[in-house]
Amino acid sequence: MRFSIYRYNPETDEKPFMQAYEIDFDPRGKKVLDALLALKEVDEGLSFRRSCREGVCGSDGVNVNGRNVLACITDLEGLKEPVTIRPLPRLAVIRDLIVDMEQFYQHYRAVKPYLINLDPEPENERLQTATERAMLDGLWECILCGCCTTSCPSFWWNPDRFLGPSALLQSARFLLDSRDQATDARLDFLEDPYRLFRCHGIMSCVESCPKGLNPTAAIGRIKQLLVDRSL
């Protein structure tokens, strides 16, 4: 199989370049990550992140043939050759396919991704009804791989100020949690021309989410909360 892979080692390379590889590899039943591991056997220098290899940890987000995917759950069979693998767009490249996720995590931290509840702690757990719990479905499953945020044109233009689909989905996850008491403060933080409202409903995030989540719908629910409290 033929591959074309983005290479950049800041210690030795002046500029990033695309390296061509050709290896004997049967794609049947294999994932992109399997091919990357096979390529690493040939070229030890090739660097990429991976951990769980089953779409749960979210560390191997890469751009394969122009789409942001998790290498470990993307079928190799059927991909157009040469299979072009690049790092996730818009983030700084540390080396080869490894990107600097700091900006992404900053936005994640900014939405305070934890329950804020000032009531005295109950003896056991804080209970929810089945309906209240169902509100969180489609939100809690996010694994923070960064595929959605780095595919979002609004994030490309204003990466420092627009929170991006992933952080906004996380924000919705806590805004809609019946146990959270910081709704107003959370909405105050989002009511800004950039943090939330740079989303124009382009929906690249929905297209690219490897977990099949819908950040655009989550953003719509946040907008609805903002409208509800303002009118």
Binding site: W157, N158, P193, S230
Partner: protein, 113 residues
């Protein structure tokens, strides 16, 4: 903490864009009729805009269009014009242009006789 001023204007502007769009959608059938099957004579056209409500509806539609267009341009510039020294005068120029168009439309509507 909420602050007065533009930094917290995201929701208002987004809502204005939605509302102006909804208004234009409401007016679209009427405008389509006007342009496709409306009166072909000047006097009949003028007569259509004689009642005050017709003038006001037309002016409101112009306002919705201009508000919608200005917000759209602002969105585009927030993405593509990253230099503030360029973005601010451009936004201001478009705003002045929109206000001029609004005044012009009002003048036309009320000068029909």
């Amino acid at each position: 903490m909420r602050h007065p001023g533009g930094a917290r204007s995201g929701l208002t502007i987004w809502l204005l864009q939605r509302v102006s769009a909804a208004w234009m959608v409401l007016m679209t059938p009427f405008m389509a009729w006007l342009f496709l099957a409306g009166p072909s004579e000047y006097s009949a056209w003028v007569a259509l805009f004689q009642p005050l409500y017709a003038k006001l509806l037309a002016l409101l539609t112009v306002a919705a269009l201009l508000v919608h267009a200005w917000i759209g341009l602002r969105e585009v510039m927030m993405d593509y014009v990253q230099i503030m020294a360029l973005r601010l005068p451009l936004l201001f120029a478009f705003l002045m242009g929109a206000l001029l168009c609004f005044g012009w439309a009002a003048h036309i509507l009320w000068s029909l006789a």
